[in-house]
Symmetry: C2
Subunit: 339 residues, 2 copies
DNA sequence: CTGAGGTGATAAACCGGTATAGCTCCTGCA
DNA sequence: TGCAGGAGCTATACCGGTTTATCACCTCAG
């Protein structure tokens, strides 16, 4: 028998299809003896539910979706998504839920995907990343009544569940550390200005400056690319009163910045300290290895999966989970300023 | 009306469900006038097929799967998978096919996933990556009768469809280039020995050596990690007659190797030329920027998607598609040997 | 002895599509 | 005029599960 159905099991066990369904799903309606017999036969025939049939009857697909709206070119290097994916799957596979992944070019396309998924019943819920300031996706998902969990930001007035880390505290820990080393001119090469986490990090730097007696603490926004990271670094290092330390919002930009410094003859960490707000193998491959903020992205993904499943089970249950705080891994790219 | 079904459309159009199904799927059985009317009503009600219902009736899921069996740690950095994914999706979304992604730890787990997917009818076909020498997945997939396309290798005696690039020619182009520069001591830091492409590259180097008059052309295998790439480089550079050029099987290892060279005071490209067998932003961020073999991974993925869809449509049709040859992008890490 | 209530099961409807057998016209050809 | 054949459509079975209505049977309280 190629692929047994519950009808085959019912035949063999001498019971009805319904009884088999009850037994296999662990719900009342059959005696313990019958249940055990059915389970044994199912096992022996190596029966597996037909996902489409189950989805049709039970109106749940056992599948969730993740859409990433970034140009493919900028994707690969950051280990963030790979680790997030692994974590997500670790959380999902424990419940036999599968993951649909889609990479699109922009937010409009992303919303279109949600609409299609919702109308085709392809996923039970979705995971949102890269939250922007007035994110149109939140209203779209609310309108679609598609369960969702936001990663790395609040779901707007408690509307959507979320899993987030404290970017503010993390940024403060970096600035505090640099100030403690003696730095007073600290620059911040930030990411895309409309990302929520960019805003939070910029605000953290601005708020900390007076308390720490920083002379200057500019935040310069970029598009997260290595090119703009390099260009911004060049601009900063060409100033008369150039910063003695630069904090980069991503590891890729930090690496690009390090390259510019070397090229301009600015020694790291002698003349310039560099910190990356995100860790990866990249920062460790450099010479000097970069001091970086390490986040447990895998665990992040795992927790997001858990929260999403809770929300799918009970959509009224808006969870807002704060994950473990990131920690600063000090390496060779930071030192007291030279004089 | 929340989510219209074809029954709703049939009601509104005053025809039967069957007629609606015919019209929406563009098959004969209805007049052009009726078809147009039905399509218009469907459009206006913004109808979308329920994926599970369609899957159940038509026994096709409009979804394909990709399993990556690598530890999450080594995944993130290589842009290869991100680009491959983008390409795959570009090819699939043109046909409204979705992609299931799964990351597992090893090949056994991967085969388990295929078994589950097959028995649950979750995918119409799968894409295989990282083909090994006597790959157990090929027989497993054949037994499951699950359509598949192999990326970057032949599907074993023409059993499975495949999309592949000519690794041999690519490696020869690198070695030829280095020999033309004057190098006679060329080393090859290879990847995992049981990967088919590793074998092909090693063989290419070995075969080219006598023709080019190379004094020594050792291939040293690694696990593709930056750590082993670095360690192997250290070993090579510590030899009495150290190589004047090293070819690395991945960009990550090349970057790690560059770091070791700098650390040991070996100047690049003065004392040592470095070539990476794979290009990415990583190679461009380095100083010096690395000469690398560029492959159009996006296009690779797109073609793999096309081939897979062909195989799903007609499983007897075993396609073996050779993609565009990779090209060598010369940057700053290669030069004639110093004397 | 009767009726209420619970247990263990069955039969049938249902989910939303697709596939097929069959029916009704209409047309064209002998 | 009669009939074959095809176009256009309907009715219905079917895919493989889940869910509901119903029922037989047993137990126990009144």
């Amino acid at each position: 028998m190629a692929r047994p159905t519950i009808a085959d099991i019912a035949d063999k066990a001498g019971v009805s299809k319904g009884a088999v369904s009850f037994a296999l799903n662990g719900r009342p309606g059959v005696s313990d003896a019958t249940r055990a017999r059915i389970l044994q036969i199912a096992e022996q025939m190596s029966w597996r539910p037909h996902s489409a049939a189950r989805a049709l009857g039970a109106s749940r697909v056992d599948s969730v979706g993740l859409v990433i709206a970034r140009p493919a070119r900028t994707l690969g290097v950051e280990p963030f998504f790979a680790h997030l994916l692994s974590g997500l799957q670790s959380g999902l596979s424990a419940h036999s839920i599968s993951l649909q992944l889609l990479i699109v070019e922009n937010t409009e396309a992303e919303i279109e995907v949600y609409k299609r998924w919702a109308s085709e019943h392809r996923v039970d819920g979705v995971i949102l990343v890269d939250l922007t300031v007035r994110d149109p996706r939140i209203d779209a998902l609310r309108a679609l009544e598609l369960p969702a969990v936001v990663i790395g930001g609040r779901g707007g007035k408690g509307a959507l569940a979320s899993v987030w880390a404290d970017d503010r505290d993390a940024m403060l820990s970096i600035v505090d550390y640099l100030a403690a080393l003696g730095h007073r001119r600290i620059a911040h090469v930030a990411g895309t200005p409309n990302f929520q986490h960019t805003q939070r990090r910029i605000r953290a730097v601005r708020d900390a400056a007076p308390r720490l007696g920083l002379i200057d603490a500019p935040s310069l926004t970029t598009d997260f690319s290595d090119a703009e990271g390099a260009a911004t670094t060049r601009k900063l290092l060409s100033q008369a009163d150039r910063p003695t330390a630069i904090v980069y919002d991503s590891d890729v930009m930090a690496v690009a910045g390090l390259g510019v410094a070397m090229e301009m003859g600015v020694s790291v960490p002698g003349d310039l300290s560099i910190v990356a707000f995100d860790d990866s193998i990249l920062t460790q491959l450099m010479h000097p290895a970069l001091t970086a903020l390490s986040r447990d992205t895998f665990e992040f993904g795992r927790q997001a999966a858990e929260v999403l499943l809770e929300v799918i089970a009970d959509p009224t249950n808006v969870v807002n989970l704060r994950t473990a705080d990131p920690v600063l891994t000090v390496r060779e790219s930071t030192a007291p300023p030279s004089s």
